[in-house]
Amino acid sequence: MSLQSCLRGWFSKCVLVPLVLLGLALPAAAEGGELGALISSLGAEDRSVAGAAIDGLARRPEPAALRALEALRDGKLRVAPSGAAYIKTEDGKLLDAVSGAAVTGVDASLLRTAGVNNVLRRQLTQAIAALGLRSKDAGVRLAAAEQLAKALDEKLAPLMREALALEKDADVKALLKQTLAQVDFGSSDPKLRIAAIQAMGESADVAFKGQLSALLERDSQGKFKEPNPEIRAAADEAVSIISRKELFTRIVRDLFYGVSLGSVLLLAALGLAVTFGLMRVINMAHGEMLMLGAYSTYCAQLLFQKYFPGALDYYIVLALPLSFGVCMLVGMALERSVIRFLYGRPLETLLATWGISLMLIQTVRVIFGAQNVTVANPSWLSGGYDLLPGVVLPYNRIATILFVSFVVLFVNWLLKRTPIGLQVRSITQNRAMAACMGIRTARVDMLTFGLGSGIAGLGGVALSQLGNVGPELGQLYIVDSFLVVVVGGVGKIAGSVVAALGLGTINKLLEPFAGAVLGKIFLLVFVVLFIQRRPQGLFALKGRSAEG
């Protein structure tokens, strides 16, 4: 009865009642007293009871409290029908949640996993952080103080004041003071409020901007809502600090996102810059090479899952050569079987490669199914680096940028510093003359097409880390790829690099204002106008081949 009335009404009044009831009913409570009662009500189906227990445990110094809270957060807390709570360890053993001793003879099939929802999860994070302030390790205390600062919970203020009195580490102290200052923001003492406002300004955190600018607003009669001019002055200064900082972070952020989008475009387009740029093959199957590269990555992941599950995080090491090799072979086979008969006939090439692309899509669909396949990011590529407050650089984007620089250097080296590169360039400039000089143009054509396809395969590896891997993956990137190569200037790798980074940055600078859909349209309009003015692209190829 009391549980139900708690559900409806203001729960904290009733919390003690169910706690006591539970406590009387449970054998665990007899051992652990109040602590035991709190721990066993963590698993209560009524979330307000569980929430009250979390708040109660946040004040308990015993190690069992932290252990139980962490178990609940990680989904390891089990509840028996009697209400007794157990912690399930990694190796499948059961520990008593209160005493921490291993228990045997409990029927695991009767145990229920204690569930949490977002509100409880938020409370849990705060409670664990509050307990973290008691840790002997200064690093843990700092992390705990950071968490408490991130999401202010006024209920925990007394705990923080206690911890501050005992704290010796300067960083933790400063952080706690700053956090407590926010609590003081709501106080009636003007001195405390001004100190709080200054602390908020110093943190330069955008989160405070709304609160602070509210102090500067006027009501309908034109009077300031905040009567104290000193407080207004402090708020004004804090707001301007935050605004300056905000503008800076926005610029940094948009530039990074632009470069990151540009590097994706470049990866997608680089293979095409070789097959279309150097060889003039309008290769509509280019997108499918990206797709094959992504699927090769998927296969590499499957192989590692099966044979080296311990080293799964490093499947990329196999994926790179595998996708390069697969796509290169497919590309060379295509060149030998279809494309070489169509040199100099762009329309037929276009149709034939489009047909090939449909065939490749359908083949993959038959083998792997129409559904997308899961390519998991290795754990070292998940997450991001906090550059500034509000600017997170995701590791997979950083890795993409590094990877594309590597691929560009590799292609550049191959074309500029190797014999095969020399032959490719000579054929690009004047095919007949190169043939007269004894270059086996057919063989070089095959290798070049293979190289372009292989690079596309490498692009596919990167794309598999950023987006979806499905049979239609290539269709998404083919337009962008042609866009980059045409804007950059056909025949120049450097042109593609500049075009990709330029288009990426313009797109990302437009996006916050125009939205993703309009941004893309503006970009296309821009490209159309640009090509009208300069049909040869950014970097034009000089010499006779330009007419060829």
């Binding site: 129409a370 559904q371 995701p394």
Partner: protein
């Protein structure tokens, strides 16, 4: 795929023209089905019920088996075939077996209309189960109305529609979007004060967000606390949008309401995880993400994000257990791709209920005649895998459904955190939208109308 192709791929358009010649140019506008209709209208004024009442009853299945929507719709085709098998194994309906006619409209909206016409005029199907996106439904609607066919539509949608020829077994906004938003505003849901409405750029998200905007305003949420953003189909670069959401969320409790459709959800959720947006800070509640869509994502960083549906695979009741068992057995027997990783989801449940309901209505009316069956479907009840009695409303052609809100778990399933005590009646015309609030969907006397403010067939007193 087709959306991208035709909108972006200038070169491909040219080739489409060449490849297709003059024979059957696919009309680019959804409004165009009238044009091919002109050729076939003469012989097919109305599809006649099969003459001999001994042979099998033909049942149309109109789901994309290729293109972008294949991801979601393939499962619906599979579950439809499973249900038909089940009915046939028990002797069929009226002593006749059901014979499925499966066609593939290939995620191509105009092709949906052509295939629908083919089903109705050439195959003379008694009923059709099909469509997923609202744009495909809008495309076939005129065909079903012109030829007096019968369509069961199994997916949650934006409402603002009720057709004499369609039965909607998916959720209307008040059975999904509105309760989910209310939950996010409640104490239990985290008391969100600010809302980001994020969607794919087409009719369903735009209309849903319009309704939500009116709803939020009625609850006193200020205009400045609502951010509306759209991305194209197949969008993959969510960096800027996630950063913007984080910035917008600073200062007030914020919830994201996502109507992103299809595989864009994978990069969106990955980006959320990479930028460290946790469900406890900024929860995302999605209307088009279910068990099937999560199969392609590592869900460990997404624990706590939400989805609102009328069914989850994790529901614990005997009907659902039997349904899942049947599905697993069917997948194993037919060796479907995906094998034991296949899951059940809400639109599959809605398809299952729809077919059962139609079979009951045919048994009741003793004929497959569309006009008779339509009368019999109204008020029909099926005990659904959600554990509740799903009743087809007598008046508005929508199903009464319970609403569940679930949080994503690490295993890709949902844990129900909120549910309605029982089924909710659908309100196809949203009371929150001024233009719609006066409209009535009622297919009984004296209204006989899905979209009007006055009764249509009232007899003079």
């Amino acid at each position: 795929m087709n959306v991208r192709l035709s909108s972006l791929w200038g070169g491909a358009l040219l080739m489409l023209g060449i490849a297709c010649g003059q024979s059957s140019s696919p009309a680019p506008e959804p409004a165009a089905p009238a044009a091919p209709g002109a050729q076939t209208a003469a012989p097919a004024a109305a599809p006649e019920p099969a003459k001999d009442d001994k042979g099998p009853i033909k049942v149309g299945i109109l789901h994309s088996l290729s293109g972008t929507m294949a991801i979601s719709e393939t499962s619906l085709k599979d579950v439809a075939l499973m249900t038909i098998d089940e009915i046939n194994a028990k002797g069929g309906v009226l002593g006749r077996k059901l014979e499925p006619v499966v066609v593939d409209p290939a995620s191509n909206w105009p092709l949906f209309a052509e295939k629908a016409r083919e089903l109705l005029t050439k195959d003379k199907v008694a009923v059709t189960f099909g469509c997923w996106t609202s744009v495909s439904r809008k495309s076939v609607l005129p065909v079903f109305e012109e030829l007096n066919g019968l369509l069961f539509y199994p997916v949650q949608y934006e409402g603002e529609e009720s057709s004499y020829n369609v039965f909607y077994t998916g959720a209307a906004p008040n059975q999904q979007a509105i309760p989910a938003t209310e939950y996010m505003m409640s104490k239990e849901g985290g008391e969100a004060k600010r809302f980001v409405l994020l969607g794919t750029d087409y009719v369903y998200p735009r209309t849903t967000n319009k309704i939500l905007r009116y709803f939020l305003q009625s609850k006193g949420v200020a205009e400045a606390d609502i951010l509306e953003k759209y991305t194209p189909f197949g969008f993959t670069d969510y960096q800027t949008i996630v950063a913007e959401v984080k910035r917008f969320a600073a200062g007030k409790r914020t919830a994201v309401i996502s109507t992103i459709n299809g595989d864009s959800n994978v990069p969106f959720y990955k980006e959320l995880a990479n930028q460290g947006v946790k469900a406890e800070d900024i929860p995302v509640v999605a209307f088009s993400v279910g068990e099937e869509e999560l199969r392609g994502i590592d869900t460990a960083p997404l624990v706590g994000h939400l989805a609102a549906w009328n069914y989850f695979q994790s529901l614990d009741n005997p009907e659902n257990k039997a349904f899942i068992e049947k599905w697993k057995a069917y997948v194993a027997k037919n060796n479907l791709p995906g094998g034991d990783k296949r899951v059940t989801n809400d639109p599959m449940e809605a398809t299952y209920i729809g077919i059962k309901m139609w079979a009951q209505a045919v048994a009741q009316s003793g004929t497959t005649d569309v006009d008779a069956v339509r009368q019999a479907v109204a008020g029909q009840v099926v005990k659904g895998p959600s554990g509740f009695d799903a009743k087809m409303d007598e008046k508005n052609h929508h199903l009464h459904k319970p609403v569940f809100i679930g949080e994503v778990q690490a295993n890709g399933q949902f844990q129900v955190v909120w549910k309605t005590p029982g089924p909710v009646r659908a309100a196809p015309w949203s009371p929150f939208v001024p233009d719609s609030s006066k409209k009535v969907a009622d297919w009984t006397y004296p209204w006989l109308c899905g979209n009007c403010t006055e009764p249509k067939v009232a007899l003079a007193k």
